[in-house]
Symmetry: C2
Subunit: 155 residues, 2 copies
Amino acid sequence: MDATDLRLLAQLQLDASLTNQALAERVHISPATCLRRVKRLIDAGIIESRVAILSPEKLGAGLTAIVELTLDQQAAERLSAFETRAVADSAVQQCYRVSSGPDFVLILQVADMPAYQAAASRLFATDANVRNVRAFFSVHRAKFSPHISLPAAEQ
Amino acid sequence: MDATDLRLLAQLQLDASLTNQALAERVHISPATCLRRVKRLIDAGIIESRVAILSPEKLGAGLTAIVELTLDQQAAERLSAFETRAVADSAVQQCYRVSSGPDFVLILQVADMPAYQAAASRLFATDANVRNVRAFFSVHRAKFSPHISLPAAEQ
DNA sequence: AGAAGGGCGAAATAAAATTTCACGAAAAAT
DNA sequence: ATTTTTCGTGAAATTTTATTTCGCCCTTCT
């Protein structure tokens, strides 16, 4: 895990559609080395996956809901039970367990308000353990790049 | 934009590392058709990009901050000015403009608390227009798959 | 100093992507 | 109803790319 790996990761989390050759050039290594290193990063679990980022607007799924959830009983197993259900729901794009304020923050990606209502009743209404729900809605996703800021991967 | 396209998108937002041939098989079309359609989806802007999802834990960037921001002056141009700064910051992974409650919700991905403090002073402290900040911290990202739920892309 | 291990790049090989082409189905026009 | 056009499709050829193999160099340990 050296500076070259960091440069590779920086490139790949910006654009994973680069060919191996193009990637090798940008990182100043040979294609063979590039391939070896990328494979190593995948095997190590540092690269978890490669995904396509789609346009919510063009797909009619342009409503993002940010939901803060407080549970009633906060025993570890009750939290895990909810988390399992949330993670399994296809409207749930992100699920964070937070330490101050609410217990969870969810990001839901849905088509419209009816779709949000459906998801909400699936996830919150049927769970007697949900004490409090606070939701915000966004129709404008100004930034979404699932990147991680890496230490000093200059160039 | 038919059922085949939806199947392609469903596959690609789960795993964009599939080869064109493998993708063609899963969607039951020939490689040539598959390539054409994917290219069309890219040109149409429906596929915005392909990115690698990295493991925050393994990279020592495991702190996610969810930040709700209220601005003082909410004229459109003041909101846009802040948005531009937020989007440009590398710690900002997501930026949503919301309609009820706060004005923005940001997702910051940082290494640790000092890194959060640094980002906060860059983004919030130096901006006299930020009235209120409410932040939650997550050390457990239970789900993160930047997918959009697509209508009826069965099979 | 000598041996062993690991990482590197050049070149050869294998695999995949991409283009080209001709066919057939559906829609539009006559 | 029939012709014409348009559009999408898959097979095959071609080009590009990925992947393996090999020998070399540098580092490390004895």
